[in-house]
């Protein structure tokens, strides 16, 4: 007879999900599944809208990472218009994305995961939350909130608002950046950088003293890694080309245009989750399983595909990181570590950009109509590679939308991670609270944004099972 444990809801993540564990009588794990239980459906509701509305419309997918959708959507619009946007608009968009990476990573680290990381996985659940953290580490929380505020303010300068700005548009951006706005950002980079350096040093010490087991067991498996890289393999977040590496560091694909993503990736539906499971098409044979094509995106993957950051402090930190993880980091626990490095690199990149006179140029927008029926836009969202793929009619009205969301790319990896944690920490039918929290923490490591990720209507696989009380399957109906 199966013994089922359900963690519902999974807490301190963005969106709604649950985890189910199936245990045998002897307590061994027979299955562990991550289910996304909410549905958004943006791919359907965008139909018939003018493509110029799409950035602001799709940004409503999420309150945490709206900039990522603004950028991918605006780039898809650029492609439909077939324009090269002005250099100042590129700089502004890059600036917004760096602000987005900072604020989202700060949210993930300080607000969502720091209770586990700083108070311990087995801490009293009534204190293992952001309020408990405020009581025991008030200065860390205060600095984390200030760091996130910095990222939000950078976003506000470019997109008009901290959340759901509407000034990143097809063809560029709506308004030039002023000198005062640039100066305001510049005033605040020092504090943000110092906060990041201090937290990074603290986290590096905890990796040695506290989290050896988690590093070993939190999604530590071979997979492919996907992300954008810039010239010379430099860490990239807005432009560049796609690169895929394997766990040994071998480059599987390189210099791939984002518009070709469908040639490389396929999506499998799930009967028990609204979240689809993308996989690397070439790794799966005709009758193979999507699991053969498992890959990861996000901070961990971006650091695995890139050779360097191109900024001094972040590159020094990257050397220490690789000293601990090896050339390719395979443990998903290192997502936290990679996140801190990306924050540091983002702040340094912002500092570099603020000195560029082009940033405040008055020329920020290219105007054009429909010059192509399909446009694909991609960017590196905080959680990983994001694709917006639009088709329009001759009048510019949307006839088809496909959004491949960073969290979706990681779906197979998240499922594999909780199975790995369950196998490592569950020993017998009684599952202690600290182990349940580790399962949640395994998901948190990916910082999934589930509200962003469930959009395809009418393609959902369907499964009905009739099961006896003792767990025996009597009949099953499926629609794949």
């Amino acid at each position: 007879m199966h013994n089922t444990h359900v963690i519902d809801p999974v807490t301190r993540i963005e969106g709604h999900a649950k985890i189910t564990l199936q245990l045998e009588d002897d307590g061994t794990v027979s299955d562990a599944r991550f289910h996304v239980t909410e549905f958004r459906g943006f791919e359907e509701l965008c139909g018939g809208r003018p493509f110029q509305e799409m950035p602001a419309l799709t940004a409503r997918t999420c309150g945490i990472c709206p900039v990522s959708h603004l950028l991918a959507s605006a780039k898809a619009g650029d492609a439909i218009m077939s324009v090269a946007i002005p250099p100042a608009a590129v700089l502004q968009r890059r600036l917004a994305n760096l602000g987005q990476i900072i604020q989202s990573h700060a949210l993930s680290f300080f607000h969502l995961s720091a209770p586990d990381l700083l108070l311990g996985m087995d801490a009293d659940p009534s204190e293992r939350n952001v309020f408990g953290l405020m009581a025991s580490e008030p200065e860390v929380v205060r600095r984390g909130i200030r760091l996130r505020q910095f990222g939000q303010e950078v976003i506000e300068k470019v997109s008009g608002r901290k959340i759901h700005g509407q000034e990143i548009v097809p063809g560029g951006v709506a308004e030039p950046l002023t000198d005062d706005e640039v100066i305001e950002i510049g005033y605040k980079t020092g504090e943000a950088k110092q906060t990041t350096l201090d937290v990074l040093a603290h986290f590096e010490s905890l990796l040695v003293t506290r989290f050896g087991g988690e590093v070993k067991n939190f999604g530590n498996f071979p997979s492919l890694f996907l992300g954008h890289v810039g010239p010379g393999g430099r860490w990239e977040h807005y432009d560049g080309a796609l690169r895929v590496v394997d766990s040994q560091g071998a480059i599987i694909a390189d210099d791939v245009e984002a518009a070709r993503y469908k040639e490389l990736l396929a999506e499998a539906g799930n009967t028990d989750s609204y979240l689809k499971s993308p996989y690397w098409r070439a790794a799966v044979g005709a009758n193979g399983s999507p699991w053969d094509g498992i890959y990861r995106v996000g901070p961990l993957a971006r650091l695995n595909v890139a050779t360097h950051f191109g900024t001094m402090l972040a590159d020094a930190a990257l050397q220490r990181y690789r000293g601990r993880t090896g050339e390719i980091a395979t443990s998903s626990f290192h997502y936290h570590y990679a996140r801190l490095l990306e924050v540091l690199a983002s702040i340094e990149r912002i500092e570099q950009m603020l000195g560029d006179p082009e940033l405040t140029s008055e020329f920020v927008r290219a105007e054009a109509g429909v010059n192509r029926r399909r446009g694909v836009g991609a960017s590196e969202a905080p959680r990983g590679t994001l694709f917006h793929d639009y088709e329009v009619d001759g009048d510019g009205l949307i006839t088809g939308v496909n959004m491949v969301i960073a969290t979706g790319h990681n779906n197979l990896a998240m499922n594999k991670t909780i199975r790995e944690i369950a196998d490592a920490y569950i020993d017998g039918p009684d599952v202690p609270e600290g182990t349940l929290n580790r399962l949640e923490a395994g998901i948190r490591a990916y910082d999934p944004c589930l509200s962003c990720s469930t959009h395809a209507l009418g393609q959902m696989p369907f499964q009905v099972q009739v099961v006896r009380p003792d767990g025996e399957l009597l009949t099953e109906l499926r629609r794949d």
Binding site: R49, E53, A56, L57, Q166, V169, G369, G396
Partner: protein, 247 residues
């Protein structure tokens, strides 16, 4: 009959005596005297329609509420523009307008510069009591310069009257009946195929919502110019060029 040089008809609005011209409406004299009466379909420079009913006022010795835009002034007329009953009527009318279409400010080209949105704020419409109708309406982006989104159309007919009375083309009109009414270009063809359209853009300028907009505008970028019509008619008919910024 020519207008007298000075207003000479005494009217009492909300307890204040103001002087009106004989051809004034309650709305026009109130507006000239800085008394705010919420309105939507009314537009200076074109004929009165009186369809939205948002400008209803209470006129002494009349047994029903009257639309201020279509009620001529009379000597010693006593008008009340603000009462709990009037506010409630206006609020419900606005809620019905919002429920009838698909008005999603967050993703509208006119977000932040929309008369319907401003009225909702002014009247305190923070929720809508009638059931939303969620009509299925198709955007017409066939015109090379402009876009018509019927989801955002409130059937105020400003565009119909402006196109007919000011431009003289009469591209726009209303087809259907009651809540099945809808705006059409020429004989119901796509706007881009309507041969009578002169591409002048006056209809777009006077639209109070994001229904008519310049093509290519992203969310929140549309700025209408509803004073354009009064400016043009005043210049044409009176030889007087008004300041559009301060009208």
């Amino acid at each position: 009959m020519a207008r007298p040089k000075r207003p000479n008809v005494p009217v009492v609005i909300d307890g204040h005596e103001v002087m009106a011209y004989p051809d004034d409406t309650v709305l026009s004299v109130a507006k000239r005297n800085g008394i705010r009466i919420p309105h939507l379909c009314a537009l200076d420079g074109v004929s009165v329609y009186g369809g939205c009913r948002l400008c209803v006022v209470d006129v002494a010795e009349r047994h029903k509420l009257m639309p201020a835009c279509g009620t001529a002034v009379a000597e010693d007329m006593e008008v009340h523009t603000q009462s709990r009953t009037l506010q409630e009527h206006r609020k419900l009318i606005l809620e019905m307008i919002l429920a009838e279409g698909n008005h999603v400010c967050a993703v509208c080209v006119s977000n932040g510069a929309c008369e319907l949105q401003d009225l909702a704020v002014e009247l305190g419409v923070d929720h809508v009591r009638p059931d939303y109708q969620f009509p299925r309406r198709t955007v017409d982006a066939s015109h090379p310069k402009y876009t018509f989104d019927p989801n955002r159309c409130v059937l105020c007919t400003r565009c119909v009257r402006t196109c007919s009375e000011v431009e003289g083309a009469h591209v726009w009109d209303v087809a259907g009946r009651a809540n099945g009414s809808y705006l059409i270009a020429d004989l119901g063809q796509p706007w881009g195929e309507a041969p009578s359209c002169t591409w002048c853009g006056k209809c777009v300028a006077v639209c109070p919502t994001g229904a008519l907009a310049w093509k290519g505008k992203a969310v929140g970028e549309m700025r209408h110019d509803p004073n354009l019509v009064a400016f043009l008619t005043s210049a044409r008919d009176e030889g007087e060029w008004l300041d559009r910024e301060t009208m």
